[in-house]
C-alpha cells in the first residue's frame, strides 16, 4: 500500500472554511468484478458477465443526472466508478445514493462498482486549480483506461459523459476506450430502446429548463444541513415527517415525530404547518426540520369538512390551538414516482409565456402541481403520466419534474388500476423465464412427486397421523393443515398431540434464487378488486406447495405434546415433515360434522359403509378434540386481554363451471375460530423458538399499545350514548367494548369497534435486535411474542421465519448452519420493507375497491339512485361523517353548502336547503333557520343518496346527499330496515349479502351492456387477460371489504391486528 495525502477544504460546523488533510491509501489489488479478469482479482459476489459487446463507464455527471436511464435492465456491463458514486452521494443526498447502492446489490442488474480511487494506477490526484468536475471526469477516464488494460483489451470500454470538452479531449487518446456523450451512446448502442430515449429527452429538457429560472424568491432558503443538525440536537428545531392533510392540501400539514428524535418533551402532539409559505417546499412524506412559532401565532386544526376545493372562510371553524411551526429545512426528500394528469389544451395555452412548460396535477391530492417541460403536451392531453420530481428552487412556486412513462388516457379502467399500483409504489412484472425455470416441473399428466432422498431426511407422518385441512370452499392454495391424536399416557396422565403443518415453501424457494428475490421484492400477494398479483409463481402456490388432499407434500411442522386434561405443554417438536392430507375439508362441512349433522365427505364416498363409518367417527373425534383445545387456548388469551375485532367472511358456492350459484355469508362458525386459534398458537410458539435461538436477529411481529389520546373520539362517542369505555389496558378495552351494546341498534357496537380499531396502531414486523424485549408484546392478541409462520405462500415474512426456524433446528442438532443468517440490521431493513409493502398492498386494495364502487355508482342513473340508510358516527362543524352499512361506505355529509345555506328538515322528514346557521356541540349538531331547528345526533340513522363526483385529475369520489333524517325504509320487505332486523347476527349479514348478490346481478347486466357500448375497453380486457369487471373475485372482494370493514376500511390499520387466518381472501379462481 502506498500512502498519499489528500487535501480537502471543508466547512467547519461554525461555517468557517477549514483545510483538512486526509490520508489516502492506494493499493494494487482492487477487484475489478469482471468475469473476464485475467489477473485473478478477488472477485466475490456479483461479477459482470462476459457476453456483452462492451462495458460502459458513466462519468460523475451522467451518474448523477441520468441514473434513471442506467437503471434500465437492458443496459448491461455497467461499471460505476467510486468517483461517480461519491459525486452522487455529495450532490444528490442519501436517497439517490441508496438507490444506486441497491442497484449495485441487485443481482438481476448487470452492474458493478469499481473502487478506482483506491487503485494505485487508476487514481489521479487533483491538480492545483483544477475544477471539481474536470477532475472527476479525468478520474473516470483514467479508470476506464485502467479497466480496459486490466482486461487485456478483451472488451471495448465506453465512457459516457455529458461534457463535450471531455469527448473531444479524450476520445482519440486510447484505442479501445471510447468516449461518447449519453445521447450518442444511446443512439449507437440502444437504438431500439425507445423508452430510454424518451426518458433521456425528458430529463435533458428538465435540466436545460432549470438553468433559466426566474430570480424572484418565492420561499425562504433552507438552512444548511450542519445548522439543522446542530439545531435538532440543541432542541431548537424538531425533526419529523411531513403529512399533508388530504382534504386541505393547500394549507394544512402536520409534522409527526419519530418517537426517539423528539427532544422537546413538552411537544406530545404533532406540529401544524399552516400555509404554503410555512411549508417551504416540503412535499408530503419528506423528513423535515421545523421551528416552532411563538405561542401567539399558534392555530387550531380545522374541523370543518371541506367540499372539494372549497376555500376556507373565517376562523370560526378552528379547534384548540396546537403547536404550530414552519419548515426551516429538509433533511431527507422522500420523493417517489407520481402519477399526474396532463391538462387539456385550453389550459396549457393559458399558461402564458412558455408553452413548453406545463403544470400537471398529481393524482395524489397531497402533492403540489408539478411543472414539466415537454414537447408532447398536445399528444398527452388528458393522459396519465408517471413523473419524477427533480428539484424545487426557492424561486419557483412549483417543483420541477420530468415525465417517465405514459400510462394511458384518464378514466380508462386499465389506466386507473395502473395508477393505483404506481401511487402505492407497487411494481410488478410477470415472472421471468429464468424464474420459472427454477420451478419444479408439475403438470396434470405428470404430477410432481416427492424425492426419495428427501423422504429419508424428513419425519414421515403419512401413516401415523391423521392430517386434514380446513379452508374456505374451493381453496387452491392450502398452506396450513392440522392434526391431532392421543398419545400413550405419560407420568401425569393421558396426553394429546396437536400438530400444525405448514407448506414447506423454503424447500422450493432457496435463499438468493431469482424466485426468492422476486418474492422478496413483492413481499406479499397483492389483492386488488379485480385481480391478484401472486408472490410466488402459480406452480408453487397452487400445486407443489399447496397441501392438497390425498397427495404427498413436504411440510414444516410444529407439534405439541399436551396434557389431555390441563392442556399444559409438555414438549414441542419443530421440524420438516412429509405429510399426506387425508381430508380437504371446508368450514361449513367441518362445522356440520362437529354438530353431528349429515355431511358429505367426498374422500370417503368410495369406501364400504363400515369402513366409512369408522373413518368418519375417527375424523369427528379429531375435530372435537381440536375444538376443545382451541376453546381452551382462546380462553387463555382472553384472560390476557385479547381484543375481539369483528371479522366476517363471505363465501361463494360454485358449480362445475365455476359460476356463482349463491353467496353464503360465512356464518361465524366456531370452527373458524378453532383454525385461527391453532394458527395463532403455532405462530406464537415459533416466535418463542426463533427468539430464544436468535435473540438478536429473529423476525417477530408486534402490535404496540395505542396512544391514549387516540381514544378520545371513541370515548366521547360512547359517552354520548351513555357507555363508558375503559382504555387503560387491552383487557379493559375488550371488556368495556363487550358491554357497550345497544339492544335497539346492533350497529352501535360495530361502529364503536371500528373506532377502537381506528385508534390502534398497526401491527408491524421487526427484528428482535432492534427493539427492547418489553416492546415485543402483541396488544391485539395479548401475546408476549408473535410472528407470522402459517402462510408462506402469500407472505414473505413467513418465508423468512421458516428459514430462521430451519436454522434454529439445525443449530440444535449440532450442525453449523450452512450460511450465516441475516444480521439484525439486514433483518430490520427487511422488516421495514415488508411493512411498507403490506401497507401499500392494503392501501392499493382499498383504493381499487373505491374505484370499483365509483364505477358501480357512476353507471347508476342519478335520478333513480337509490337512497340508503346511514349512521352518523362523528360530528364536524359544518357536517357529519356517516357510515352506510349497506355498502360498507364511509363519507362526509354536508349540512351547509357553499352558499351558506343549511339543511332544514321539514315535518315529513324531507330536507330542504335554507339560509340559516349551524350549531355544533359534542354529541349533536343542529341547524337553525327561520322556520325551525333540526338536530342531528350521534348514531342517529338518516337516509342519504349516493352519487359520484367525477374528477379529472384525481380519483372519483362518492358524494352523499341528505334525503331525510329518518332511517331509510326500503319499499318492499319491511324487515329489511336495520332497525327492524333482529339483533346483530345472521339476519343482518344475510341481508347485506342479498344486497350484494342483487348488486352483482345488476352489475353483470350493466357489464353486458357496457361491453356492447364500449368495445375499446373489452379489447383491452382481452389484451391484459383481465377478467370482466364484476367477476367472482371482485364480488368476493367487495363483500369481504364490507364485512371486514373494521379491519381494512380504516385505512390506517395496515396489517390490522392479526386475526390469524380470518383475513384471508377466500377466492382463488379469479
Amino acid at each position: 500500500m502506498i500512502k498519499t495525502e489528500k487535501v480537502l477544504h471543508l466547512k467547519s460546523s461554525r461555517g468557517r472554511k477549514v483545510r483538512v488533510v486526509r490520508e489516502h491509501y492506494l493499493r494494487e489489488l482492487v477487484p475489478c468484478y469482471s468475469s473476464l479478469c485475467q489477473a485473478e482479482c478477488a472477485n466475490e459476489g456479483k461479477v459482470l458477465s462476459a457476453d456483452v459487446t462492451h462495458y460502459v463507464v458513466p462519468d460523475a455527471g451522467v451518474t448523477r443526472d441520468f441514473m434513471e436511464i442506467l437503471e434500465f435492465r437492458e443496459i448491461q456491463g455497467l461499471v460505476f466508478t467510486q468517483t461517480a458514486c461519491q459525486a452522487v452521494q455529495h450532490s444528490r443526498g442519501r436517497r439517490q445514493y441508496n438507490r444506486l447502492r441497491s442497484l449495485l446489490k441487485d443481482p438481476r442488474h448487470d452492474c458493478v462498482l469499481f473502487a478506482n480511487e483506491f487503485q494505485e494506477y487508476s487514481y489521479c490526484p487533483r491538480e492545483k486549480g483544477e475544477p471539481q468536475d474536470k477532475w472527476q471526469t479525468r478520474c473516470v477516464y483514467q479508470a476506464a483506461v485502467w479497466y480496459h488494460d486490466h482486461l487485456a483489451g478483451l472488451k471495448p470500454v465506453v465512457m459516457i459523459t455529458e461534457d463535450q470538452g471531455a469527448v473531444a479531449e479524450y476520445s482519440s487518446l486510447n484505442c479501445g476506450v471510447y468516449v461518447l456523450s449519453t445521447l450518442e451512446y444511446l443512439r449507437t448502442f440502444w437504438p431500439e430502446l425507445q423508452a430510454a430515449h424518451e426518458l433521456y429527452g425528458s430529463i435533458a429538457q428538465a435540466l436545460r429548463e432549470r438553468g433559466n429560472e426566474g430570480t424572484e424568491r418565492e420561499f425562504a432558503e433552507h438552512l444548511p444541513a450542519e445548522v439543522l443538525e446542530a439545531g435538532i440536537k440543541s432542541g431548537r428545531y424538531t425533526q419529523g415527517t411531513l403529512n399533508v392533510n388530504k382534504h386541505r392540501a393547500q394549507h394544512e400539514a402536520f409534522v409527526r415525530f419519530d418517537g426517539s428524535s423528539n427532544k422537546n418533551s413538552e411537544l406530545d402532539s404533532d406540529v401544524l404547518v399552516w400555509g404554503g409559505k410555512n411549508r417551504n417546499r416540503a412535499v408530503h412524506g419528506d423528513m423535515v426540520a421545523v421551528e416552532l412559532l411563538p405561542k401567539g401565532e399558534w392555530r387550531g386544526r380545522t374541523t370543518a369538512l371541506t367540499e372539494g376545493q372549497g376555500e376556507e372562510k373565517g376562523e370560526e371553524s378552528q379547534g384548540q390551538p396546537m403547536p404550530t411551526g414552519r419548515v426551516v429545512g429538509i433533511l431527507q426528500r422522500n420523493w417517489r414516482d407520481y402519477v399526474v394528469t396532463f391538462p387539456p389544451r385550453e389550459e396549457t395555452q393559458s399558461q402564458g409565456r412558455n408553452s413548453l412548460r406545463i403544470l400537471a396535477t398529481p393524482w395524489d391530492q397531497r402533492i403540489p402541481k408539478i411543472r414539466i417541460s415537454t414537447h408532447q403536451a398536445d399528444t398527452l392531453q388528458d393522459h396519465r403520466v408517471i413523473v419524477r420530481l427533480d428539484s424545487w428552487d426557492s424561486t419557483s412556486l412549483y417543483p420541477n419534474g420530468h415525465s417517465v412513462r405514459v400510462l394511458g388516457r384518464a378514466g380508462e379502467l386499465e389506466t386507473e388500476v395502473q395508477t393505483i399500483l404506481i401511487e402505492n409504489c407497487i411494481h410488478i412484472a410477470p415472472f421471468s423465464e429464468a424464474q420459472l425455470r427454477e420451478m419444479p416441473a408439475s403438470s396434470p399428466e405428470r404430477p410432481w412427486t416427492v424425492d426419495p432422498a428427501e423422504v429419508v431426511t424428513r419425519r414421515d407422518l403419512r401413516d401415523t397421523h391423521l392430517v386434514f385441512s380446513i379452508d374456505p370452499r374451493g381453496c387452491e392454495d392450502v398452506d396450513d393443515t392440522l392434526s391431532v391424536r392421543s398419545l400413550p399416557p405419560g407420568p401425569q396422565g393421558p396426553r394429546l398431540e396437536l400438530g400444525v403443518h405448514i407448506a414447506d415453501v423454503t424447500h422450493f424457494v432457496k435463499e438468493g434464487t431469482l424466485t426468492d428475490l422476486e418474492a422478496r421484492a413483492r413481499a406479499t400477494t397483492y389483492y386488488l378488486a379485480d385481480r391478484r398479483y401472486d408472490m410466488l409463481p402459480a406452480v408453487l402456490s397452487a400445486d407443489v406447495c399447496s397441501l392438497l388432499g390425498g397427495v404427498d407434500r413436504y411440510a414444516m411442522s410444529v407439534m405439541w405434546d399436551l396434557d389431555a386434561q390441563t392442556l399444559q405443554v409438555n414438549r414441542v417438536w419443530y421440524g420438516r415433515t412429509l405429510i399426506r392430507s387425508s381430508y380437504q375439508l371446508y368450514y361449513e362441512q367441518a362445522q356440520a360434522l362437529l354438530n353431528g349433522e349429515e355431511a358429505e365427505v367426498p374422500e370417503l364416498a368410495q369406501l364400504p359403509p363400515e369402513e366409512r363409518d369408522h373413518k368418519l367417527s375417527h375424523l369427528i373425534e379429531a375435530l372435537e378434540t381440536l375444538t376443545q383445545v382451541a376453546r381452551h387456548l382462546r380462553a387463555q388469551r382472553d384472560q390476557g386481554g385479547a381484543l375481539e375485532l369483528e371479522g366476517v367472511e363471505v363465501r361463494a358456492q360454485l358449480d362445475e363451471d365455476k359460476n356463482i350459484t349463491a353467496l353464503v355469508p360465512r356464518q361465524p362458525l366456531e370452527v373458524h375460530e378453532t383454525v385461527a386459534e391453532c394458527m395463532i398458537y403455532a405462530n406464537h410458539w415459533v416466535a418463542r423458538k426463533i427468539q430464544e435461538r436468535f435473540p438478536q436477529q429473529a423476525l417477530l411481529r408486534h402490535h404496540p399499545p395505542p396512544r391514549q389520546e387516540f381514544f378520545t373520539q371513541l370515548q366521547d362517542s360512547a359517552r354520548a350514548l351513555g357507555f363508558t369505555i375503559d382504555t387503560r389496558s387491552n383487557k379493559a378495552l375488550a371488556d368495556s367494548l363487550d358491554q357497550a351494546v345497544d339492544p335497539q341498534d346492533p350497529l352501535v357496537n360495530r361502529l364503536l369497534r371500528v373506532m377502537a380499531t381506528q385508534a390502534m396502531s398497526n401491527a408491524l414486523y421487526f427484528s428482535t435486535g432492534a427493539c427492547p424485549v418489553d416492546q415485543y408484546y402483541h396488544y391485539g392478541l395479548a401475546l408476549d411474542r408473535y410472528t407470522h409462520f402459517t402462510s408462506p405462500i402469500r407472505r414473505y415474512a413467513d418465508v423468512i421465519v421458516h428459514r430462521l426456524l430451519t436454522a434454529a433446528i439445525a443449530v440444535e442438532e449440532g450442525a453449523r448452519p450452512a450460511k450465516a443468517s441475516a444480521s439484525n440490521k439486514e433483518l430490520e431493513e427487511m422488516a421495514q420493507h415488508i411493512n411498507n409493502k403490506n401497507r401499500a398492498a392494503q392501501h392499493a386494495q382499498k383504493v381499487s375497491m373505491e374505484l370499483f364502487q365509483c364505477l358501480y355508482f357512476r353507471d347508476k342513473d342519478p335520478e333513480t339512485a337509490e337512497c340508503c340508510d346511514a349512521v352518523i358516527y362523528a360530528i364536524r362543524t359544518n357536517g357529519v361523517l356517516v357510515f352506510i352499512p349497506q355498502y360498507g361506505l364511509k363519507g362526509a355529509l354536508y349540512l351547509r353548502n357553499r352558499e351558506g345555506q343549511v339543511v332544514r328538515v321539514s315535518q315529513d322528514g324531507r330536507c330542504v336547503w335554507e339560509a340559516g346557521s349551524l350549531q355544533r356541540s359534542l354529541d349533536h349538531v343542529s341547524t337553525t333557520t327561520a322556520s325551525g331547528t333540526s338536530t342531528f345526533r350521534l348514531f342517529q340513522h338518516v337516509t342519504v343518496r349516493v352519487s359520484v363526483q367525477t374528477s379529472r385529475c384525481h380519483a372519483d369520489t362518492l358524494h352523499l346527499e341528505l334525503v331525510s333524517n329518518r332511517a331509510h325504509r326500503a319499499p318492499e320487505p319491511p324487515d329489511r330496515t336495520p332497525r327492524a332486523a333482529p339483533p346483530q347476527g345472521t339476519r343482518g349479514r344475510s341481508q347485506l349479502v342479498q344486497e350484494v348478490v342483487r348488486q352483482a346481478e345488476e352489475a353483470l347486466l350493466q357489464a353486458e351492456e357496457k361491453k356492447g357500448r364500449v368495445s375499446e375497453l373489452s379489447k383491452e380486457e382481452r389484451e391484459f387477460r383481465q377478467s370482466k369487471t364484476p367477476n367472482l373475485y371482485s364480488l368476493l372482494e367487495e363483500v369481504r371489504e364490507q364485512a371486514l370493514l373494521d379491519l381494512t376500511a380504516c385505512g390506517a390499520v395496515g396489517g390490522g391486528p392479526d386475526l390469524g387466518t380470518a383475513a384471508r381472501p377466500c377466492a382463488t379462481s379469479a
Binding site: 477549514v18 483545510r19 488533510v21 486526509r22 490520508e23 491509501y25 452521494q89 442519501r94 447502492r101 439484525n824
Partner: protein, 245 residues
C-alpha cells in the same frame, strides 16, 4: 451520524484501508540528545513526540516519594497547530489532564518501577499533528522513549484504537472515523503476555460485540508491536555501528 459512509459495501474505509488494516507507522528513536530518552512517531497523520527524563530523585514535593518504587510523572500536551483550527491552550485543559492520567496508569503497569525506589521518571508527550488515535500514538511514542532511556519494562506497551461500524470492527481509527459518532475503544497491551495495561471506551456498545471489538484491537496492538520492535532493533544497529562495536 452525518452522511459519511465509514465502511463501503466493498469493505473500504474512507481513506482506502480495509477494516483490519492499520495506518502507516513510522518512528525514530533518540531524536534529542539532551533528554535521557526520546522518540518520534507517525501513525498516519498523527504525529507525536515523547521525551523521558529519569530515573532521578523526586523533585516534586517530598511527600509524593514512594519508598518501594519509582513515581511516574506524565504530561500530555497538544501543539497549538496540531488541529485544523488553532488550539488556544496547549495543555492543562481537562482533556489533557485526563490523558496524562491515562498515560501514567499505562506506564505504571509496564515499567518495572520497583527497581528504582524513591525516584521519579518523567514522561513528556506532545502531539504535533492530530488525526485520531492520539492516545495510542502517545503510548507508542512513550514506549520507544522509555526504551531509549534504558529504563527496564515488562514488555513493549502498544496501543491502538478500534471502532465498530455495521457490525464490523475497524482497527486504528482516523479522525474522520472517530468523529463519525460510532464507538471507539482504546487499548494498551503488553503483547507478549497478552496483558491489558489500559482499556478505555466511552460510547455505548452492546455487550455481545465487546468481545469481537477487543479481539480486533488486540490484533491491531500486536501489529503495532511488530513495527515498534523493528524500529528498536534498527535503532540499536545504527547506534552500535556508530559506537563501533
Amino acid at each position: 451520524m452525518a452522511g459519511v459512509e465509514l465502511l463501503s459495501d466493498q469493505g473500504y474505509r474512507l481513506d482506502g484501508r480495509k477494516a483490519t488494516e492499520l495506518r502507516k507507522v513510522q518512528a525514530r528513536m533518540g531524536v534529542f540528545a539532551q533528554a535521557d530518552g526520546s522518540a518520534y512517531i507517525e501513525q498516519g497523520n498523527t504525529k507525536a513526540l515523547a521525551v523521558v527524563y529519569g530515573p532521578h530523585e523526586v523533585r516534586m514535593s517530598r511527600s509524593k516519594t514512594l519508598h518501594d518504587r519509582a513515581v511516574i510523572n506524565c504530561q500530555y500536551s497538544m501543539a497549538t497547530f496540531s488541529t485544523a483550527e488553532r488550539k488556544r491552550r496547549p495543555h492543562g485543559d481537562r482533556k489533557s489532564t485526563e490523558m496524562s492520567l491515562h498515560l501514567k496508569q499505562t506506564f505504571e503497569a509496564a515499567v518495572l518501577t520497583n527497581l528504582y525506589p524513591r525516584s521519579q521518571i518523567d514522561i513528556y508527550v506532545k502531539i504535533l499533528q492530530s488525526d485520531g488515535g492520539n492516545y495510542s500514538a502517545c503510548v507508542n511514542a512513550a514506549t520507544l522513549a522509555v526504551i531509549d532511556a534504558g529504563i527496564p519494562m515488562r514488555d513493549y506497551v502498544c496501543a491502538c484504537t478500534a471502532g465498530f461500524v455495521d457490525e464490523t470492527p475497524l482497527a486504528d481509527l482516523c479522525h474522520a472515523e472517530e468523529s463519525g459518532g460510532g464507538t471507539s475503544l482504546a487499548l494498551a497491551l503488553l503483547p507478549r503476555g497478552g496483558h491489558i495495561a489500559l482499556l478505555q471506551m466511552d460510547a455505548r456498545l452492546h455487550q455481545d460485540h465487546l468481545e469481537t471489538l477487543m479481539e480486533a484491537a488486540m490484533t491491531a496492538c500486536k501489529g503495532v508491536s511488530k513495527v515498534l520492535d523493528q524500529v528498536v532493533r534498527q535503532h540499536l544497529q545504527e547506534v552500535s555501528a556508530l559506537t563501533g562495536e
